[in-house]
Symmetry: C2
Subunit: 412 residues, 2 copies
């Protein structure tokens, strides 16, 4: 593992340091090409925790068109006791009806049997094309092939097998120094399109060897997902297949007890890891060249949230970010759209710390300096609407030619 992910918007705490290439103790993984992708690239991965007393937590998409694997996880898997994940790319197994559901169950059952663990401890995840039946025979044969290859070194083959339009792997490996000793945390994510703030369209698998109760896993995951994957937008699209799974093997023997310093430090580490992965997803948003952060301050939580999402989701604002154009007129337009039928509101807008609009009115600023400031990889926007006490942030990608190319020429 190399350096920690660098962004002005991610601060790594001192007790979180770069980890190695291995998975945490108690985990094995591997991936292969099972023949689901026409390209012949890796498309099937299995991750297993060998500790019977391990714990877990899961969050999935809120879509009412949720894919078959999401339904299987929701209905047939014990969320606090997930010990194995079988994941494929190349086919989302979404909009596939009863046959798709049965295939997802079979994919799950076949993996559980091959690993010798309970079926309701095995989660199933699919990503790729919507509306095609899964080649379940290829999946089952792939599971048979990959299970003997699983190893504690298998992190890379796992993360490779879950990619679709991603430009590259999104992984983090850290050691977390807790009062009782050091624990390890690794995480793999995928996702580039169908990303939206209400929940990112993505996979994220997180492993740790800390001893964490089922309840603490769920509490921490629920909290950090809200601060990471729920704060990003590539194209405003909620996916049919989103899933985040945290698994804790406990193999380190180092405990994270509720309401202790260890819990605070572990939670902070998990938060930083997931925020990093969320930003990696935005930076790798389909066709993305740069990342924006839209911060909205005002007097009501719901209002600042709605304004932040509306502005960050505007294709005009995203195109301006792409072009390195400090075109704040589009920001005030999007704010006005987010709050229709209200009388004119005094909006302040700052871009990279430069005030460009005060109380709804243009103010003079150094255009050359600002044009330079918005040409970087990361651009920060601040919108103030009336009131105080509420803040919302959304990280978003720009809208580029490549986004159009990817999505007009590639059937996802």
């Amino acid at each position: 593992m190399s350096d920690l992910f660098a962004s002005r918007w991610v601060e790594w705490p001192a007790h979180v340091v770069p980890g190695d290439d291995k998975l945490p103790q108690g985990f094995r993984a591997g991936g292969i090409a099972a023949g689901l992708k026409a390209s012949g690239r890796a498309d099937l991965a299995v991750l297993v925790c060998d500790e019977a007393s391990s714990t877990s937590a899961i969050r999935q998409t809120r879509s009412s068109a949720a894919a078959a694997p999401v339904l299987v996880n929701r209905e047939l898997v014990n969320p606090g006791a997930i010990r194995a994940i079988v994941a494929n790319s190349g086919n989302a197994n979404a909009a596939t009806g009863e046959e798709g559901f049965e295939n997802a169950v079979q994919m799950r059952d076949h993996t559980a049997a091959a690993l010798g663990i309970a079926r309701d401890s095995t989660a199933v995840c699919s990503t790729g094309v919507i509306g095609k039946q899964l080649n379940i025979d290829a999946v089952c044969a792939g599971v048979e092939s990959v299970v003997p290859l699983l190893s504690n070194d298998g992190r890379a083959s796992l993360s490779e097998a879950i990619l679709t339009t991603d430009k590259g792997e999104k992984v983090v490996s850290v050691d977390i120094e807790l009062p009782g000793g050091t624990v390890k945390m690794t995480a793999q994510a995928k996702g580039a399109g169908m990303i939206q703030p209400a929940f990112a369209t993505m996979f994220c698998f997180v492993q740790t060897d800390a001893v964490v109760s089922e309840e603490t896993c769920d509490l921490l995951l629920g909290t950090v997902v809200k601060r990471s994957f729920e704060r990003i937008s590539v194209d405003g699209q909620l996916s049919t297949n989103d899933v985040v799974i945290l698994m804790a093997s406990g193999a380190s023997g180092v405990a994270v007890e509720p309401q202790t310093e260890a819990e605070a430090l572990f939670g902070q580490a998990l938060d930083t890891v997931l925020r990093s992965l969320a930003l990696m997803i935005v930076a790798d948003g389909e066709g993305s060249a740069r990342v924006g952060r839209m911060v909205v301050e005002g007097g009501e939580d719901q209002t600042v949230e709605h304004v932040a999402r509306t502005v960050a989701g505007s294709p005009l604002v995203k195109s301006a970010l792409h072009g390195g154009d400090p075109n704040w007129g589009r920001i005030i337009q999007a704010v006005g759209m987010a709050l229709p039928d209200s009388s004119r509101i005094p909006v302040d807008i700052e871009i990279e710390g430069t005030l460009v609009c005060s109380a709804g009115t243009a103010v003079p600023y150094d255009e050359g300096a600002l044009a330079k400031a918005v040409a970087g990889d990361e651009v920060e926007y601040l919108v103030r609407i009336p009131g105080t006490g509420s803040v919302s942030e959304v990280f978003f990608s720009d809208l580029s030619h490549e986004y159009v190319t990817i999505n007009s020429e590639y059937t996802t």
Copy 2:
């Protein structure tokens, strides 16, 4: 005037026939280059009705960041007695504060004085860059220059002067055969970006020489705007400057009385004219190559409306339309996103009359035939969600490379 606008989604009634190049009796118009556009193209237009007893109706943007001219029209103009319009392109006079408001008032007052009509009978409209103060001296000088040139033949120079990123003029001229005689109706629209269903970002000026009361003008305009400009989406963006104005000179002497056959026929003509202009705006959506119609059927008005707008607004669906890709997986994904947190709903999807998804599950279809069907200029989508009795439609443009080019390289 040449042929009527042709689209499978617009049916011209038999009593509406192509009109000539002139404005209806009682109207004069003209446009010039006042120096607001750097390109030196026409950017200022004046339209006036010489009949003191004329009537009118107006609809404007719901944005809370409404531009100065919108505020002037809202606060200082009599909506039923608009006899003149002064309109400029090249500058939206939006986010310009008190100075912008005073400039809009001055633009209005100067035009009223030059024409010798009441100030509260003069509407003011601006479109172009947001956040720059209007060059009011250039506007006033332009008004002085253009007023002597106004003529009943000035339709073309009016429609040219209001264009921004439009590829071309959007105009209609028809004769309407009513029981009491024939009346004339002409209309000019502009708009290509910042178009969304909640209200199109646009200008539309409609003139007729029929005798129509102020109340009937308002009733008819309110009704047909809902069926035309409120049903289109280019990029989901609500503008700061939208305005639609209907003016009736009464010069033909042919009356359109409430609750008569004449009113029904006149209303039908107005509806067809505005629907045509709305479709022209979508077809000329920034970078647009083809137009889609998204029809959603179900059991609740609000739900079918929300689903139609969500699906038509999805950049994934719009990219697929651009690529001529019958990628219905993105449609079901967007439906699932529009209705989050609900259990899986049985969705039917038809594209160009071909059933591709039944009750949420893929069904076999002739892929070659459908690929051919979606390669045309107009593509029709039907989504059925549970329930019956409610239908919503949204016309939308595709998302193209050119949209990105226009919006990342052009400060609007």
